[in-house]
Amino acid sequence: MAVSEEARPKQGKTPARARLASLRFPRRFSCDDVFEASSIIFAGVIVLIIVVTSVFLVRGSVPVLESFGTGFFTGKNWIAAAGSESYSALPFVLGTLVTSAIAVAVGVPLSMGIAIFLAEMAPWSVRNPLSRVIELLAAVPSIVYGLWGLFVFRLWIRDYLETPISNYVGSFPVFQGTPLGLDFLTAGLILAIMIIPTVSSISNDVMMAVPASQREAAYSIGATRWEVVRTGVLGYARSGIFGATILGLGRAVGETMAVTMIIGNIPALPASFFQHGATMASVIANEFSEADPGSLHLSALIGIGLTLFLFALVINVFAQLMVWRVLKVRGGSVE
């Protein structure tokens, strides 16, 4: 395989003219060039979408950034009433961070547990149906999660988790407030449930794709079952699992419907798990249609959209860096 890779000319690096000149046919563009050109154009659509989005978001944010400057990112108010307008993205940024952090902190270990169970320990008869079920559950739409979360899940959390916590450690700052179940904690936990299918099924696939030779090598030097999993499998699959986590994080950051129905929608700096809050996605969903075109309110919402966009960018850059680092360390042995 390696030989033919090198032997094949790198199309992207050879100028079209040189290729043309090497043809023995009458001078015309070959179908290959048309093909390459058209596929570039289609790929360029992606660039176009990103560019259009960036332009739109930046242009729309200019009014509010002009009015508030860096205060837009450091203030703590969100008042839309004309005459006393004050907008800041900070409550929502923190809200998104807190809920996503809970989602990843709770969801990823659970997903890993499920994935390890499926990949390493489950008997054949259980593994296939169970992994199928998990992948199917990734498909439940977020509005259904929202409905269920609002009517069923939050009552469980309120009664079995928050009230006991509040009774025992309610004086700690992070657990203050009346536990009603409509707060950062429940929203974060729902997000955790939502990302478990994605993270665990990709981790599972990645772990199952680890070559048997890795496991066998670990066994052969006398590792226990858990050590085999830890060193042989998890180490090899690390980048893939990390990629799965990033996908899960991305989903948690952008999730709108389920969070909007559960988090209480008050722009406030998160100070307690039991507090109402809002995330960037939820405030946009709530207020976008209301805002008058051309108003500062609309600009503030677009500013939040821009912030979300930057989040997605940063998450991806971070993921790429991590994967690149892993690649460097491992010498490129990643599937």
Partner: protein, 260 residues
Amino acid sequence: MFPLASILFEVVRNGLPAISVGFLTRPTGNITDPSSGIGNAIEGTLILIGMTCLIAVPIGLFAGIYLAEFGDNKFGRTIRFLNDVLGEFPSIVIGILAFSIVVVAIGHFSAMAGAVALSIIMLPIVTRTAEESIKLVPSSIRDAAMALGIRRWRTSLSIVLVTAKDGILTGIMLSIARIAGETAPLLLTVLGSGFFFSGVDQPIDALPLRIFTDYKNSNYPSALAQGWGAALVLVVLVLSLNLGVRFLTRGRSTFARARA
């Protein structure tokens, strides 16, 4: 595991009583009337899926081909990165974009705007899946084709794509399952409707929208029952797409499914 089972249980328990042939084919009309159905919501979801695929699949396929075949350079890496960024976009931001561009341009809410929003969501998934499936095709096939004198573009289209079709179809079906359940972008772009399809430049209904509207009016028992019924139909649709993927790729290696 338990919460997930609970969701399915609740949906089935509450939704099943509402299902009937009439329910699935009648339009919504009067939401307070027990004879109101979700026929237009189902039709709307199918139409939106169709329109979205028409937009996103060709673009995604060719973008994926580009990345897999010609994408070893800086431009390709940029595209790959931007594609991942696009895939992480919150759907609400995509909704705002589609609103600002399509709804404002046409002058009112339309199915077209919804399809544009959904295709922006679908595009990165199709591109990524296409690229990875094509990359999995071993060079031996390409080499064999080249040895036979078949042109590059012909090789890509006829041979490589066909070999990678399982993975690509998997990606398409999974992304359809994803967009079928998207609510936020549709809220801003298609308005919703109580009637059947009347044109791509007109508002249209869709299952997630129908669920949301029924939830808002769930004090009327008929609306609440309709909402659960619509949720059940949506979940069944999405699950059967996933099951279809499973069925079609049985015995297959896991590579094709690794990138969901």
